[in-house]
């Protein structure tokens, strides 16, 4: 996991007057599971299509293993793609679908047969070779699409929301399947999704995107625990985002109440955004802290209760395994390490973090 395999340098792309990607820089390392995560229209699929060769950037270049491949057509690239909605060849059998790339490369029949058999086994669809794509379920078709791509032994597999059309249970099974495949093949996966849970489960690295800008790059833990801005915090999981003031190092004023925190170097009396995850909000008896409130909503979610607590005019989202009925007076405590301080957006590209829903 050291070599930089793909380098996107200063990539810009517009469709008409619509700016999709603006001066994007990103590198992808060998053997990495990298996920491009963001809402629709954030540019994640366009990024993938630029790597695959289906779109060419207006500016910037795509480097692969040190060579410029910006103008190389898709059939000359050492990457293969698993498309959204599978894109299988419906006029061919499963075996013919998988063999397509190998036949184009004029491999011997024996080699092709071996490879097809191996690929079917790898995706747990042994013996399906003579069936037609239409006779398979969505999940099975998706696994064929993966098999069709990986028999060509690409250095990189590009996956464009491959699980989007599947139901929840199947999606979760396929996530583990993909992780297993990636480990068995030992190649780079670039995965596009708008599903934050999918991204957190599978990735080595997550790239959070919005409106053509990269918002944050990091491991799933970093992205979840230390979001760099309000957009990332809001997009990844539930969160309480509070406009606050950094009094000084390790002290922040949230809703007129001072909280101890562990962040430094934000300056003194600077406006900041604070993110607190719902599971990090602790509810205590009234007046145990200076922030008092009342439970206004309660929903049972299975693993935990989800509550809304109004305190100092802000509606807090709280997850707790302990039950506090509606109307209970409580006070709110957050331990210092669970308070995540974020800069307010200042520059143009950071404006993209504003959450317009």
């Amino acid at each position: 996991m050291s070599n930089r395999l793909i380098d996107l340098v200063n990539i810009s792309k517009s469709f008409g007057s619509n700016l999709i990607l603006d001066d994007m820089n990103l590198y992808i390392r060998e053997n990495e599971f990298l996920t491009l995560l963001g809402p629709s229209g954030c540019g994640k699929t366009t990024t993938l299509r630029i790597i695959g060769g289906f779109e060419s950037p207006d500016h910037g270049k795509v480097m692969f293993n040190g060579t410029d491949i910006t103008s190389l057509p898709p059939n000359k690239r050492q990457v293969n793609t698993v498309f959204q909605k599978y894109a299988l060849f419906t006029h061919m059998t499963i075996a013919e679908n998988i063999a397509f790339g190998l036949k184009i490369k004029n491999k011997s029949n024996a080699y092709i047969q071996d490879k097809v058999k191996y690929a079917l086994k790898l995706v747990n669809l042994d013996g399906y070779g003579s069936r037609m794509p239409d006779s398979l379920s969505g999940g099975q078709q998706q696994r064929i699409a993966i098999a069709r791509a990986i028999v060509n032994e690409p250095k990189v597999l590009l996956l464009d929301e491959p699980l989007g059309a599947l139901d929840l249970k199947l999606r979760q099974d396929m996530q583990y399947e993909l992780i297993r495949l990636k480990n068995e093949l030992g190649i780079t996966f670039v995965y596009v999704t708008h599903d934050q849970e999918e991204a957190l489960t599978m990735s080595d690295t997550i790239v959070v995107m919005n409106q053509g800008y990269i918002q944050q790059i990091g491991t799933p833990e970093m992205i979840y625990n230390e979001p760099e801005n309000a957009f990332v915090a809001d997009f990844i999981g539930d969160s309480n985002i509070l406009p606050s003031t950094m009094i000084r190092d390790e002290l922040v004023k949230i809703l007129d109440v001072n909280f101890a925190c562990i962040d430094k170097n934000f300056g003194e009396n600077k406006p900041v955004d604070v993110v607190i995850r719902p599971e990090d909000v602790e509810l205590l008896a009234p007046d145990k802290t200076q922030l008092n409130g009342e439970v206004t909503h309660l929903i049972f979610k299975g693993v935990h209760y989800e509550m809304e607590v109004v305190a100092n005019g802000f509606t807090w989202l709280v997850h707790s395994t302990k039950l506090f009925p509606v109307g209970t007076k409580i006070s709110i405590y957050v331990s210092p390490e669970n308070i995540q301080i974020m800069h307010k957006p200042v520059s143009v590209d950071e404006e993209a973090v504003s959450i317009d829903e």
Partner: protein, 270 residues
């Protein structure tokens, strides 16, 4: 909510103008003037002049269909590749002639191609040798292609439009170049449209008598002309019906051929 009665007017129509006439064609076809059963009218197709007319009709329809495919396929590809907003005008241009009366269109060609017609006048004016295309099989093929081309374009265009662009991308992704992608993916996936187009051009071309009368003069007789003459000039309804039944067999064969290769009914939309 039983609304079956709504179909009654159509059933009446179908019975009066499709089923009964068809039954009468069969009745006349299998009887002689005295109403006695005979196979003579059917077997009359074997006589040299009828065989020749049927053969010529098959040959001319075959070439018209072939030319229609060669013209329509690239055109449909261009149309399908353009965005919806831009191509709707072009599609309109191709459908526009279909709104005009079929006879008028063919008559227009007659005027254009005649010995002293518009084209030859222009050629004469430019001191170029004139063309003698009117009253030849070539003129008939021209008329067929002109009249039936839209029926080839639309099903192919529809079939191409239905192909998921990502399927094409997938072929490119797996290493196929443009030509390989076309031969192995685009063409097979658009075959339902091509086949539906073949039926829609071949059948009317095979049975036409107007185009051959107007552009072929009285010299070139297609099977359609022979049948028409039996009804209108010779007054031999029995022979006319018998030959019609034979022609129907060819039509049914081509329709079966198209339904078999287009199980999903994908290409038939127009």
């Amino acid at each position: 909510m039983n609304k079956k009665w709504l179909s009654f007017p159509y059933i009446l129509w179908a019975a009066g103008f499709i089923i009964i006439p068809l039954a009468m064609v069969f009745y006349y076809g299998f009887t002689d003037r005295d109403g006695i059963f005979t196979m003579e009218n059917i077997l009359a197709i074997l006589s040299p002049e009828h065989r020749k007319a049927l053969f010529l009709a098959l040959v001319l329809s075959f070439f018209s269909t072939l030319i229609c495919i060669l013209l329509a396929y690239p055109l449909s590809m261009i149309l399908a590749k353009m965005g919806n907003a831009r191509n709707s005008f072009l599609v309109l241009i191709f459908i526009l002639p279909m709104w005009m009366n079929f006879l008028l269109r063919t008559l227009a060609w007659q005027t254009l191609l005649e010995k002293n017609g518009v084209i030859n006048s222009i050629l004469h004016f430019l001191h170029l040798p004139g063309i003698a295309i009117i009253n030849t099989p070539a003129a008939i093929i021209l008329g067929m292609v002109y009249n039936f081309l839209p029926f080839m374009v639309l099903p192919i265009y529809n079939a191409l439009l239905k192909i998921d662009p990502n399927v094409i991308n997938a072929a490119r992704d797996l290493g196929a170049n443009g030509l390989q992608t076309f031969i192995k993916v685009t063409l097979p996936l658009s075959m339902p449209g091509v086949i539906s187009g073949i039926t829609m051009v071949f059948v009317p071309a095979l049975t036409t008598f107007v185009i051959s009368t107007l552009l072929g003069g009285s010299k070139i007789l297609l099977i359609g002309n022979v049948i028409e003459q039996e009804f209108t000039q010779s007054g031999n309804w029995n022979l006319g019906s018998g030959l019609s039944v034979v022609l129907m067999i060819f039509i049914v064969i081509s329709i079966i051929f198209s339904t078999l290769s287009d199980k999903d009914g994908e290409g038939t939309a127009i």
